[in-house]
Amino acid sequence: MLSILSTSLRDIMSKFLIKVVVTCSLLLSTPLIAEESYFNAQKFQVHGFVAQGIIDVNGSDFVNDDGELSAELTEVGINATYQLNSKLRLAGQLVYLDGGNRYAKGARIDYALLDWSIYNNDFWQANMYLGRFKNNHWLYSSSRDVPFARPSIILPQSVYFDGFRDIAVGSDGAAIKVSHSNDTYGNFDINLSYGTSPISDEQATNLLSKLAKGKAKQEHDAQASFYWQPAFSPWRFGVSLLDADFSYVQGTPSFDNPFVDSDFTFQFYTANALYEGEVWEFSSEIYQQRFIIDGFYQNGFHDDNVGQGFYVQTRYKWNSDLTFLARFEDFYLDKTDKNGKKLEENSGGLVPYYFGFNKDITLGLSYDFTSNIRLRMEYHWVKGAGRLTPVVVPNPRINDSEDWQMWAAQIMYWF
């Protein structure tokens, strides 16, 4: 039922977005603000962004296989929202992404939803979102592919792994958000969501292996999160839970299609804290993931892994235009094998130990030329290959060193 609903909503939204693009180009050729009618006021709003950068990775296939300087750092988006009546609103966003090996290149519908305002008064808001909605559960999950709305060009990969981007960024289904504002106890937000994400063959290859010629599918994705900001406090705290099931169907077995039918379960729990002061900002997420494989390598194969990690991040606002960033991230795929030795032994030496973890020290800055033009630059020192694609069957031939580095610069405009 939900998938039929979301499919038809997607169709409606695609048509809607095309109209929006046409309307925008018409609007842009005429004066935007006439007396008593304000562009982007009230019922209908259009926004968007364009970002282009350069990125250079030395020592891994994070962006490209040859290690050359790359311009594969393009993000373009346009969105629209239309208030149908006091209870219902339509919203959708189209994005075009090019990140090299990080995710599939091309355009996609980022979200396309019907927002039903179930209840609201001065202190309560309850909304239900039907269709394709964005993951609103982690600190930066809903803004991960909006260049100026996230803290850095490349996010902490252990949580915001680009290889999982298309699956983790949102779902087709239903989500509920309940917000309560209390003058004494502060702001409370509860988010619940249930849905599925389509998995393209390219994503399946990225996640599993080039030899995974079968069909991968997400069976379900259920998530919940809770946020609390004490009254007039610079702090906010949150927790989130995720449970997702995937299946893989081999099709006809052959020499170049060796992996058998399988089920995968992915569970992910996070806790986060955010401090927003006048010049200093602090944020951190700690998390535990559980990844269960039944089958895949051979019938009867079973693997149950618990990985853990965290990052701490600080930003310092030098003035209203210039902000510095520093971040440390530490993640290991198996909490009983933090240095990856077991991983190397169990694979008979095929998978080197450094595929068992991912540590990243990041320094960066961003400079605002105007209220909507920003330049961002950053440098990453990375140890480990635990967050490179493909995930299930890694590629140690290209990723042949434990230490690798990258830098990136990106200019972004939004309206």
Partner: protein
Amino acid sequence: MFSIFGAIPAKAVEVITHKSITQQSLTTSQLRRIFTMRQTYWSNNNAITIFVLPSQHQLHRSFSKERLAIYPYQLERIWNKLTYSGLGVAPTVVDTPEALIQAVLNTPGAIGYASKDDLILFASAHSLDTKEDALQGDTTEKAKPTDGYNNQGVVHVINIID
């Protein structure tokens, strides 16, 4: 000239609403709820439409810090998250303080802000000799420009209770 606004609390940025808003005052908490989009309807069930200046504008920065006690970058984040994730709708950005006053004047249910000086300038630009009459003896502190806005040209200046 300045005495016209003598009864207004001594903050440089005033909160203004469309004349359809009957509320005489708002608490800082209410104002925060409204500008952080946690309250989207007035108590009479009319939708709230918010107008703001660009995030780097000095008046916006003063309003954010003095009136809301929120840093401008925090507001921007909340609004960006709503706008680019489909979760909600953010305020409408206008380019100049005058355009902001004009937008609030023309939009039922609207709320915005203006500096005392801009309100005086706006009033004198639009009504050379009636502004004193419009404001005199009025506890709701209205600026009343005329010249084509006779029927709708009232901007409420709202009292903010800390």
